[in-house]
Amino acid sequence: MNDLIIECRALTKTFSSGAEVLHILERADFSLEKGKICTILGPSGSGKSTFLAILGSLERFDSGSVRVDGYELQTLPEKSLSVFRRSVVGFVFQFHFLLNDFSALENVALPGYMAGLPRKEAWKRAQELLDMVGLIHRSHHYPSQLSGGERQKVAIARALINEPSVVLADEPTGNLDAASSKELRLLLQRLPQVAKTTLVLVTHDSELARIGDTSFLLKEGHFECIR
């Protein structure tokens, strides 16, 4: 199984709320092959987003092991997490989280520029990505001048700027209308081919869930492969 890009073993994550302890993940196992699309479904509050945050090192976990593209997250010191985030994973959130004071082009280029790409190269790569998502004509527009779907496309382009091994998308169509959702679905579907990446997608949208090569249901702290 050398092609595994994500491998989680006995992953446990709990949240404490006063005396109450919420078991989000209970010795859960999960693995995914490189270049695949994986969709994760589950009821609200089941821990889908938390799992995504753990894969992206945004959230620490209690026990178990998580390996993403060779990085053992349980042993990774705090200082190395930002290196991991900028070089291995790309995030797409339910809300676009674009920076309002920066144009679409700048929003896409910034993570690359911050990661050490020369300015010209970061801007050139950002233009290519905006072209890829069909928004090259909107490069110099600001988030407030873009539609919801366009903002999410810009967010996808931003997630790809550092050529991540894994893109983690958390309900990316959650705030979009049907037409925009369809456009985004088509874009996400071809992502592994055009961006040579692996996609982990958390969604409630059954249409979007169908684009996955594999699908898991997260329920009561465990993953159940449903496709």
Binding site: S49, T50, L52, A53, G56, L58, E59, D69, G70, Y71, E78, K79, S82, V83, F84, R85, R86, S87, V88, F91, F93, Q94, F95, F97, L99, N100, D101, F102, S103, E106, L110, P111, Y113, M114, A115, G116, L117, R119, H140, H141, Y142, S144, Q145, R158, N162, E163, S165, D170, E171, G174
Partner: protein
């Protein structure tokens, strides 16, 4: 697996400036929203405004002190004073003066006798500093530069003539041609002190431009002063001027003069005292210096307050923009980079404020006389419109200050002010920078839920 190391400063500067100051105004497509109305322009303005008075106080007080010092040195104290016995013969005194004049670096040397007396006229009476000057003082360019003749002559031609300082003449109510009585004290036989009354015709009225000096000058010929003043209370000296009274050459010259005095020609001088102007006016200049220090301290507090406002603005910004900061963290911006953005932003805000404040402060300092004159004219114009009978107002009464404020721009001070402003801005940015570095990217996940 690849790693990209981000160690360059440029992206941090780019992000810091855009984060704190918003979009470039030149961007025609940029929509108007909070970026353009960044609170940091307010912080820049706050620092600028706090810097301006510091410059004005510093440069004006420097100029004032310089102007007053120059007047003291050129019209009263001289650069070096060689104290002489009262009974020294004219021949020895003149020989000594000539020998001093031959020393390298000496531009003038003039004999003077100073004492105190009471000047009286039908219009009033006032204490007077009797200055017995030698005619050679007229060859002194420094003396002539600062002495303005209001009326009559600059020097008394006759032994019974006196030249008065402007404010002494004013308090006595006399003009050129009037007579004044000078009362001095002389020791009589058996230790008795007797007043001596001498009548002088006012030959001229002069001003140094500084009231403190003009208030008591009673200038007579040196020979007259030697006759009128008592040796026990008066002081005779040769006032020596050099090319540079502020440099170290003054001490070298003092040593040369001391060497001169041990020569056989001057063996009849029982004792002498050689003092530099710094020794003579030590108390006065210590007072100037401490006043200036207190003013600068008060002004510096204003800069600290402005810098604290900057720190507060940065902290508010960090609190209000947690999400954007979390986005950056999720995109791989490290906590150190996040902190650096705010430190650089603080430094940039401080630098902009200091530079803008310095420019305005220097400009106002350079044109302070015109600005005060303009404000005064405007106030008087409005006052005349409102009450035609009103008396004109004088903002800086020349009776108590120099008539014209001399400005002394010191670039070293400017560099010090800008440097200090930036350092203080960076220091107050540490707290918000630290706060920003602790924002966890996981907040984005919770935001979405």
């Amino acid at each position: 697996m690849h790693t990209i190391k981000a160690r360059r400063l440029q992206p941090l500067v780019f992000l810091g400036v855009r984060f704190l100051f918003g979009k470039p105004l030149s961007d025609p497509k940029a929509p108007a929203h909070r970026g353009r109305h960044s609170p940091f322009w307010g912080a820049v303005l706050g620092i600028s405004v706090s810097i301006v008075p510091l410059y004005i106080v510093l440069f004006v007080s420097n100029g004032m002190i310089q102007g007053i010092t120059d007047r003291y040195l050129e019209t009263k104290t001289s650069h070096l004073q060689l104290g002489l016995p009262f009974a020294l013969s004219d021949q020895t005194r003149n020989k000594l003066r000539q020998d001093i004049l031959r020393l390298k670096g000496v531009v003038s040397a003039s004999f003077e006798v100073d004492g105190i007396g009471l000047a009286a006229s039908p219009g009033g009476s006032a204490s007077a500093q009797v200055r017995g000057l030698d005619r050679s003082v007229l060859a002194d360019a420094g003396f002539k530069k600062f002495i303005r003749v209001d009326d009559g002559a600059i020097f008394p031609d006759k032994h019974n003539e006196a030249v008065l300082g402007r404010y002494l003449a004013k308090s006595l109510g006399v003009g050129v041609g009037d007579t004044v009585t000078l009362i001095t004290l002389r020791e009589a036989r058996e230790g008795h002190i007797l007043p001596k009354l001498s009548i002088f015709r006012v030959a001229g009225i002069v001003s140094s431009g500084y009231r403190e000096l003009d208030a008591n000058w009673f200038i007579v010929q040196s020979g007259t002063a030697l006759r009128l003043l008592d040796p026990s209370t008066a002081y005779a000296f040769i006032g020596i001027k050099t090319a540079d009274p502020y440099g170290s050459a003054l001490n070298t010259l003092a040593s040369k003069i001391k060497d001169l005095l041990v020569q056989p020609d001057f063996s009849d001088i029982p004792g002498f005292g050689l003092r530099t102007w710094r020794d003579i006016e030590r108390g006065l200049f210590a007072s100037f210096s401490s006043t200036k220090s207190v003013l600068i301290l008060i002004m510096a507090i204003a800069i600290v307050v402005a810098a604290v406002n900057l720190g507060s603005a940065l902290t508010t910004y960090v609190i209000e923009h947690r999400t954007e900061i979390a986005v950056l963290r999720a995109c791989g911006v490290s906590s150190q980079q996040t902190a650096s953005i705010f430190l650089l932003g603080g430094a940039a805000t401080g630098a902009l404020g200091c530079i803008a404040g310095s420019a305005v402060g220097i400009f106002i300092s350079l044109y302070i006389n015109q600005i005060i004159g303009g404000i005064q004219a405007a106030i008087n114009f409005v006052a005349r419109l409102l009450t035609p009978a009103s008396h004109p107002i004088t903002l800086l009464n020349p009776d108590y200050y120099l008539e014209h404020i001399p400005i002394s721009i010191n670039w070293q001070y400017s560099i010090l002010i800008v440097g200090t402003g930036i350092i203080v801005s960076v220091l107050v940015s540490f707290f918000p920078a630290n706060k920003s570095s602790h924002i966890a990217p996981a907040e984005l996940i919770r935001h979405g839920q």
